[in-house]
Structure formats: structure tokens, C-alpha cells
């Protein structure tokens, strides 16, 4: 990590909801160290490689129908993947409701 990047925070918790659990072998809660939401998702994919292609397309773009929250806040209001994380933050990975 470059010197200008925020430091990785211990005690970040990622909660996988609904369909996202099946892509991680049934895992519901993952503990990791991460500086930003992007970093958390990267760390998550390291622990569960099967999540990598489910989270992003081949060009690295996050897939649609994916909602991300940091604690109780919609990540879109926090800078999306640039959102910085604090020790003890909880990241929610949620299948966005869509379609019929």
C-alpha cells in the first residue's frame, strides 16, 4: 500500500447476505483487515476466490444488483468503493432487490 493510502483497519467485519453466501461456500461473516471498501472486497475475494467473478466482471467493474452498506449507511453516500473504513466497521454485501 502506498504511503498516501489510509491504513488498513483491524476488526472489519463483512456480512454476506442472501445469494452472496452461496458464492462464498455458505460463509455469513468474514473478518478481515481493510482500509477502504474496495480493499475489503479485494480481501474478501482473496479469502473466497469464488466470489471474485461474482463481484466483478472481467474488466473489474462491480456487477449490478449489488448493494453495499458500511454499518447503516449506503456506500453510495460514502464514496462507494473509496469509502474509508474504521476499526470495527461492518460491511454489508447485499443482493439488491430488482426485477420481478
Amino acid at each position: 500500500m502506498s504511503s498516501g493510502a489510509p491504513p488498513r483497519q483491524k476488526g472489519v467485519k463483512v456480512l454476506l447476505h442472501g445469494a452472496w453466501r452461496q458464492f462464498a461456500g455458505g460463509a455469513k461473516e468474514v473478518a478481515l483487515e481493510a482500509a477502504t471498501l474496495h480493499d475489503a472486497l479485494e480481501q474478501l475475494a482473496v479469502q473466497y476466490p469464488s466470489l471474485k467473478e461474482r463481484l466483478r466482471d472481467e474488466h473489474g467493474k462491480l456487477r449490478p444488483h449489488l448493494a453495499l452498506f458500511v454499518n447503516d449507511e449506503d456506500a453510495r453516500l460514502l464514496g462507494w468503493e473509496d469509502a474509508t473504513l474504521k476499526d470495527g466497521d461492518t460491511v454489508h454485501v447485499i443482493p439488491a432487490l430488482s426485477g420481478g
Binding site: W20, S50, R54, D57, E58, R63, H65, G99
Partner: protein
């Protein structure tokens, strides 16, 4: 050992599996993968693998495969366009097990239109650059349902000889296993004003036993090709409408095929209702068959909606948009509804287990 039949029925809400020992009484299991739409699912008679195109759902589209007849499924590594490409894999339209002479090869067609080859029984996929580098690819354009490669017709004898069908991009032929391709759109007897991309191919089938025999359902025509021919022979005369999607070829008689004509704008059967049309002379004449089908029903059967098994007396099957599956055990003359109240049926693939 006695044969049994299994239908892989892809719907707009998951994959259903239907099984029967006598092809009269059927059990239905599913859905797998719901709520994802399943454009196509197929069975590989070489090793009894099953494949499912699970599309446009959470986590994106993916291909899954099963090695235990559907008890458990694993996910393929996604088809992936190269870095720097302006295209992104959106969904899979067709999965075609390879020739018996190429035991680990499986092919897939996707949207955006591209051909993918797996050499490890469907676990990973490689873009076929021979087709992708065709200059004429610039002319391909989306049809009403998107721009996909949906037909992969492998010759019965020589796996190096294949055609692919693209909506809307026409037919391409390879004779070297996919290293190089040529456009293959010359027809005889049909409209004179076909563009070189041949309009919108709806379904292109290779006969499974006789080398060189092809049956092709195009947007407003059907065509036949015999061994040694290099053009497509117009065989639409005798059908009540020019339009349709579903098509199947008799596995033991290389002159017989079935199709379901639809209204070209409504995309449903016309009066007096859904019917299967059969030819026994390579499309020169067509006969209407509707015994057992609901009278007056404006049903719809899609591109992958029809198939046949490989019994000595082959069963023919098709699914409809209102969630029915029909079967014929007399080569299309009469039909029985073997499933109803399924979600919108997108694809039917018939497997013969023995």
C-alpha cells in the same frame, strides 16, 4: 440396459429436470438456479455432464456444470473478453458438447456474440479468436433478443467442420476446428436480396449421424443443406408462416425435421392454434400436426424450445411460453402435455440415458 429419458427444461425462473423411464410418466424436479433465467441447458452423452446457462442474476451470468446428473453443481470460470476489449460477457445463449472424437471439448455461444471453447469439460472457456477476428463482425447487430451466438452445429463425422449461427450476423463455417472461418450465407431458391450476413439466424442444426446435413431456421425462412452442398436450399414453401424459432432433426432419418411456425409480429402461433410441422423430404413439403395440442392456443415456443431424444423411436419435445412441455412418441403426429404450470419455458434439451 434399458434407456430412460431426461429433459432439461430451462425457464425464466430456473432449470427444471424431468425424468421418465417410459416417456409417459414424468417426474419434475427444480428449479435449480432460480430466479435466474436459463437460456439453455444441455446434457453431454459422452460423460453424462450437464450444463446450464444461468443468466442475468445476482453475481452476474455464469455457466454451471454437474457431473452427477444434477445432484450437485459447480460454477465454470466465466467466459471473459480480453483486457482492453470494449465488450463484456453478458450472458450465455447456448452450450454445445463437443464431438465424440474431442472428448474434453465443450463449446459455448454468448452475448455479445462470441464463440468459446472449453478443453476441460466446461470448467474454463477460451475465446475463439478465429471467429472474433473476422472483419465482418463489424456488421453484426443485435436482434430483438440481443446479439448472441446461439447455434453451434458440429458435423456428425468430422469435428473440424462446424457452423455457427449468429443473431444478427449470419452463418460462419470452419473446416479446421475453428482456426479459420468463412461466411456461409449463399442460398438458392429464396429471396434474392439477402444481405451477406443473411438476416437473423434463429436456429441451425447439424444432423447427429449423417455428415454434411444441416437444417436452418432463419427469421423468415427455413433452409436445408445436403452433404457436399455449399449453399442453403430454400425450403419454406408449405409452412403457414415464414417465421419461427423452434426446430429439431430426426436423429436416424436425415430427411426428417420438425418446426413450429409463429406469427412474425406477434411471436405466437396463428389460427387455428399451435401446431408442429413435419417434413420427411428435407423440407420440400410440410405436414401440419396438432393432435393433442390445445385447440386455438396462441402459444409460443422459443429458439431452444424443441428437441428430440435418441431412442430408436425418437421422442420429440417442445416447451411453451405459458409453462407447458409437450411430448410426441409417434414422431410428431400426436402430442401429450407432460408438464404444465412451469415458468415461461425458454429451452428444452432431451437427453437419453442408458
Amino acid at each position: 440396459m434399458a434407456k430412460s429419458a431426461m429433459l432439461l427444461v430451462g425457464t425464466k425462473k430456473g432449470l427444471y429436470t424431468m425424468r421418465s423411464n417410459d416417456r409417459k410418466k414424468w417426474t419434475v424436479e427444480g428449479p435449480h438456479g432460480a430466479p435466474a433465467p436459463i437460456h439453455h441447458a444441455s446434457f453431454d452423452p459422452r460423460d453424462q455432464s450437464m450444463f446450464a446457462a444461468i443468466n442475468s442474476t445476482w453475481g452476474g451470468s455464469r455457466i454451471e456444470y454437474s457431473r452427477d446428473l444434477g445432484k450437485t453443481w459447480a460454477t465454470s470460470k466465466n467466459p471473459a473478453f480480453p483486457q482492453g476489449s470494449d465488450r463484456t460477457f453478458f450472458q450465455t445463449w447456448h452450450i454445445e458438447p463437443g464431438h465424440v472424437k474431442t472428448p474434453n471439448v465443450v463449446w459455448a455461444g454468448t452475448e455479445p456474440a462470441a464463440l468459446w471453447k472449453s478443453e476441460d469439460r466446461g470448467e474454463t472457456w477460451t475465446l475463439n479468436t478465429g471467429l472474433d477476428d473476422q472483419p465482418s463482425r463489424a456488421k453484426w447487430t443485435p436482434g430483438f433478443g440481443g446479439m448472441g451466438l446461439h447455434s453451434i452445429a458440429i458435423d456428425a463425422v468430422d469435428p473440424n467442420k462446424m457452423q455457427v449461427g449468429i443473431s444478427v450476423g449470419g452463418v460462419y463455417t470452419t473446416t479446421d476446428g475453428g482456426k479459420s472461418w468463412v461466411q456461409d450465407n449463399t442460398q438458392t431458391g429464396g429471396p434474392e436480396d439477402r444481405p451477406d450476413v443473411f438476416g437473423c439466424i434463429h436456429k441451425l442444426l447439424a444432423h447427429p449421424k449423417v455428415s454434411g446435413v444441416r437444417f436452418m431456421r432463419v427469421h423468415l425462412e427455413v433452409y436445408w443443406r445436403d452433404p457436399g452442398e455449399t449453399t442453403w436450399t430454400f425450403r419454406t414453401t408449405g409452412l403457414p408462416t415464414k417465421f419461427g424459432f423452434s426446430a429439431a432433426m430426426h436423429p436416424h432419418d436425415a430427411k426428417t425435421a420438425w418446426c413450429i411456425p409463429l406469427h412474425d409480429m406477434k411471436r405466437t402461433a396463428i389460427e387455428p392454434g399451435i401446431a408442429v410441422f413435419k417434413t420427411t423430404d428435407k423440407g420440400a413439403t410440410w405436414t401440419r400436426h396438432d393432435a393433442g395440442l390445445p385447440k386455438g392456443a396462441a402459444l409460443e415456443s422459443l429458439r431452444e424450445g424443441m428437441d428430440n431424444d435418441d431412442f430408436d423411436d425418437p421422442g420429440v419435445y417442445f416447451g411453451t411460453a405459458n409453462g407447458d412441455v409437450y411430448a410426441s412418441l409417434d414422431e410428431g403426429k400426436s402430442w401429450d402435455r407432460i408438464a404444465q404450470y412451469l415458468p415461461y419455458v425458454v429451452s428444452v434439451h432431451a437427453a437419453t440415458l442408458q
